[in-house]
Symmetry: none
DNA sequence: TTATAAGCGAGACGGTACGTCAGGTCTTTAA
DNA sequence: TTAAAGACCTGACGTACCGTCTCGCTTATAA
């Protein structure tokens, strides 16, 4: 997947088909929707993509890496619309994230690759760089806005700021994932409001609807 | 797995071996430690347990159900020691939960079965009844104590109380799981302290170490 | 199957059910008709007979012995009606034997147990005593009649007589079995006439229809 | 098993290994010798041949077809040496055939596949084309020679000639098989002489040693 | 009347082989 | 060198029967 933008000396032989790459990733998402993670097979993906198995393996050595790449792009669609207040901004991103987790591709794939990653450092790194770290931007942006609005104080040190962002990311992402996939309950407006209130106000100040 | 307490008329034929049940669950945990979820095979578990494959399949039709049952009992070890304050109680259970997730059996298995459950309602129900619902006791007990201590107000209605407990459970469990397995960062004393502070005080009152 | 007619001192305990014996043999024949030799299973026979597997195994240790016993009785139905001449007598028994081999029970079972017997001396002996030797009576009777009619000379010695009977038995039985099962062609009146002519007249005098 | 002589456009993909074919058939014969028909397993054959089970199943769907093909070639070794007279020629082929049936591969396999063929038309056809029909050449050649020598008359019609050959084939093959496998008695010089005398001279002219 | 002993139906049990399927690799021909 | 096609090896799958066992129960004879 490391294609140099301008190859100084183009490698000899037939060049790789860019169309194949796209077809494979599309086919992977389709297969995830239809079959789910555990019944998705490399042979089936190759067939859907109209590509030989060798072509697939030349690009992705393992099913889990293929799925991470196929799914990662979906997470980049998440946005943080400015809705005027920290509370509303968080609520908005929670609902967006929940909607993403409702899609069958992500629902079945995310936990599966995370599970695999507990025994595979390379996969863990790929998930982190392709998905997790990229989405921290939402937390950073949200905090910036809240600080600009005066809803949150500025951190005293960059280290503390980073640590803080990580913590908040784990809390928001973790809560939504747990509600949606483990508890298997809907993440609707009500839940999002209650969660946001808890997050902003803390246990002491909780006053759910 | 539903053995009536007092079978009025015991079923005919040779009864199932209780020893086999225990041996299989033990073997499953061992295999999880050594091989992880994805490399665990039914045949291997049977062999480790000194049991025929048919004996295993007679009890558990699928690998994921077997693993849920094998792992569920570990979650029952979680306890909520009374450490004097809500903050310290939460911190304590967070660290306990993190320690549990550090164990190779649970680390590799939990996310995997959750992933499978997204396409399998029966499995989802089994996870809920064997693991999730059983651990909500910790939230309920913690809240009770905090209310007795005057740290938290009493809920106005039972419905609200239940909804509230579910929310808090998702937040705590979700955050710890996300930190430990997705972000793959250690859940140590410092993190636990920061998280607890956030949970109790909310975003506004966050003052991490 | 060696139950003395009048047991001097009947063994203690509950006696074996004679009904079970009959039910098992009937069930075996039924199963042969429906399933054929290779798909017949001990468990299925037991079930058809309304009998536990243990009851079956207490009587017959192996499927092949059971089948020999179940089928042997059918061969005893063969008879040698006196049709007036050696030629016609042979012809008659050939057609009878062919009809027996057309029955699905025997067709599927006979060659199968013979095949098994090539590696199992005990089975070989059982086949010989339960089927083969019992049917030599037909040859002996036929020869007797032919000799009485003056169609055949009397043998010079008992040894030669026995050897001769064995040979003729092998030729008749072998030819019919080979035609019916190996060549898989019908043993009809025409064939029986031609075969009989060849057997009686020899290659030199063959004048088929 | 239908390999076109000159494939105009060779099929795409890796061609099947001819070495695998040979190794499998050899392994099958070895396994027949060591284990016999009923204990021969596809997995074991594959292992002996140093081939994956899938490779085996790609060529032979059933054990019985595999065995027919493995054994058929042995029957092609039968020859009809010119020993000067019809009587001696028949005697010679009888002994050869008996020797072939003494080999453990054929002894255990022949009756077994015939037994299976009673319920499987495709197998029946395979046996006929691979074994039975090919060996009728022996009868045809023997008759030709005898007719040239003036020992046998020429048939009046081709139909009659064919029918006659089939009959004689069934009688010879049937008698030898029955003697060797069903009666389980040796086919030695003496028996061969007696049988030949009976075949040529008929029951009336029988004068065994 | 009560042992004692075997038979019996039911079904669990440890095994072996089945035939299939998926993961990856290798070997063809064509581009 | 890549690509498509498909053969190949490996290893797990879940099932079917095997023949044995362990239950609770029945049915005989002998004490």
């Amino acid at each position: 997947m490391s294609t140099p933008a301008t190859p100084a000396h183009p490698r000899p032989g037939r060049p790789r088909s860019a169309a194949a790459d796209a077809a494979i990733l599309d086919a992977t998402r389709d297969a995830l929707v239809e079959l789910g993670w555990s019944k998705l097979t490399m042979g089936d993906v190759a067939q859907r993509a109209g590509v030989a198995k060798t072509t697939l393996y030349r690009r992705w050595a393992h099913k889990n890496e293929l799925v991470v790449d196929a799914v990662a792009v979906l997470f980049d669609e998440l946005q943080l619309p400015d809705r005027g207040s920290l509370l509303e901004d968080v609520q908005g991103v929670v609902l967006q994230f929940a909607a993403l987790l409702e899609r069958p591709e992500t629902k079945t794939a995310l936990m599966a690759v995370v599970a695999e990653s507990t025994r595979d450092a390379a996969l863990r790194e790929r998930i982190r760089s392709a998905i997790v770290d990229r989405q921290k931007r939402l937390v950073l942006l949200g905090r910036e806005r809240a600080q600009a609005r005066g809803e949150l104080p500025y951190e005293e040190s960059p280290v503390q700021a980073a640590r803080n962002a990580d913590l908040i990311f784990d809390v928001i992402a973790g809560a939504v994932v747990h509600r949606a996939l483990v508890s298997a309950e809907p993440v609707d407006e009500t839940w999002a409001r209650n969660f946001t209130a808890l997050l902003v106000g803390g246990l002491g100040g909780v006053t759910p609807a």
